[in-house]
């Protein structure tokens, strides 16, 4: 067990994890997930917000089992390897706000860093602008880190409840999904909302999605896989450890897409994407900056919440609330372009994140 544990945290270990995630994401798409969205932490959390009725965008409502699996897999892994540490209390409300704006930025672009890579691997050229924005946002974040930015220390909690809350919530949502499936041809179960068309109606079989989510939760917890940290460490320390993981993900997804006939290069009419490049860039600048200031990409925040990190759970909750705000108030983009209030929300988000970056300091 000890050697296995060490292996996934090595250079080859994280490359292995990246390859596996890339292949599994492309296969999930083949099995029914939306195009270039085998895995998208932001989109899937947005669908969960829809399934709970926090927003009523009828095309994006589904209790995505992958997300539940991410948290529960990381939770089980942390327990098994004795890394479950209930903790919290490092500027939780600031993290909540960062989560809200990270989601708004991601929904202006239409994807988190995971989907940015998967969109590129599917041939979507618009994702180049999202990727450049992501890197630019992370770069801004590293300037703050260099200048002493910090959200302060978290506290190790003596109460297990601090760390158990979020994994138990995910377990509860999973049970709800299992006992409240979509009635044939209807958009409402007993409680949960479902989509009849659009991305929310496209999904791989539940148990396969759940199994893949659990597996990725385990290996990502072991390897500390992080799509934002990949660029941050490269920029800040010239260290390519995490980057080799996302490079492996991209290459593996690209090859799998070629094999499965899912590679369609171009800019126009790409699935669940728009061609307003300035906002693709700025949306992901906002998301990248927010992830950097919060210390992890949206996937990593879920894995950390599974390890007992209550602050990461607050960030993830902020993202779900952000999705509801984005769809209720016309901030989220669609294939026809950005929402009516997407531009102003992105600018406000950037200003708020810059203020957070400038004011939160060590000591």
């Amino acid at each position: 067990m000890g050697e296995w544990k060490n292996f996934l945290a090595t250079r080859w270990g994280i490359i292995f994890v990246g390859i596996l995630i890339g292949i599994l994401a492309s296969i999930l798409q083949k099995l029914g997930n939306p195009p270039n969205m085998g895995i998208c932490v932001a989109c899937m959390e947005r669908d969960i917000a829809g399934a709970l009725g926090f927003h009523r965008a009828s095309v994006v409502q589904y209790m995505r089992p992958e997300i539940l699996g991410f948290v529960l897999g990381a939770f089980l892994s942390a327990l098994a390897f004795r890394e479950f540490r209930p903790r919290g209390g490092s500027a939780p409300f600031i993290r909540f706000i960062l989560g809200v704006f990270a989601m708004i930025g991601a929904l202006v672009f239409l994807g988190c860093p995971w989907r940015t890579l998967l969109r590129l691997a599917g041939g979507d050229g618009n994702a180049i602008f999202g990727l450049l924005g992501l890197i630019f946002g992370i770069w801004i974040g590293t300037r703050f880190l260099k200048a002493g930015y910090s959200l302060g220390r978290t506290q190790v909690s003596t109460s297990k409840a601090v760390g158990l809350g979020f994994p138990l919530l995910m377990l509860g949502l999973l049970i709800l999904l299992l006992i409240d499936p979509q009635p044939e041809g209807e958009s409402r179960g007993m409680l949960l909302f479902y989509s009849l068309k659009g991305p929310g109606s496209q999904h791989a079989p539940l148990l396969i999605s759940l199994a893949v989510g659990l597996l990725i939760g385990v290996i990502a917890q072991r390897s500390r896989f992080c799509t934002m940290g990949a660029f941050r460490d490269l920029i800040l320390f010239r260290q390519g450890h995490l980057f080799s993981g996302i490079a492996a993900l991209f290459i593996a997804a690209f090859i799998t897409n070629l094999i499965l006939g899912q590679f369609n290069p171009g800019f126009e009419k790409q699935p669940i994407a728009h061609t307003m490049q300035l906002w693709n860039f700025l949306g992901m600048t906002l998301a990248g900056l927010a992830f950097t200031l919060a210390g992890g990409c949206p996937g990593r925040q879920l894995f950390m919440s599974g390890e007992g990190d209550g602050d990461a759970a607050v960030f993830a909750t902020g993202m779900i609330v952000g999705a509801a705000i984005a769809h209720n108030f016309g901030l989220a983009s669609s294939p026809s372009g950005i929402g009516p209030n997407g531009a102003v929300a992105t600018v406000i988000g950037l200003i708020v994140c810059l203020i957070i970056g400038l004011t939160m300091r060590r000591r």
């Binding site: 945290a9 390897f81 890394e83 540490r85 903790r87 490092s90 880190l145 260099k146 910090s150 959200l151 302060g152 220390r153 978290t154 506290q155 190790v156 500390r224 992080c226 940290g229 941050r232 460490d233 800040l236 320390f237 260290q239 450890h241 919060a294 210390g295 992890g296 390890e307 602050d311 060590r362």
Partner: protein, 72 residues
């Protein structure tokens, strides 16, 4: 007497940043870094090694680790 860097409870990448600051400031000698997650333990050890410092030992302490690094 080893320099002590207390990085407990700090988010990524602050433990590594503080460690590298201490490494640059001292140039050589001994540094002890306190961390409280396995992720930080791995990240700090990796960063110290890449700067040519030796990992003397890693001791479990309280709910975290005390990492002792050295360069002659």
């Amino acid at each position: 007497m080893a320099e002590i860097v207390d990085a407990r409870g700090l988010s990524c990448p602050e433990p590594v940043l503080l460690t590298l600051e201490a490494i640059k400031r001292l140039g050589k000698g001994e540094i002890e870094i306190l961390v409280d997650t396995d992720t930080s333990k791995e990240n700090v050890s990796r960063a110290a090694s890449s700067m040519g410092w030796q990992i003397e030992n890693v001791i479990e302490e309280g709910s975290g680790y005390r990492i002792r690094i050295k360069r002659d």
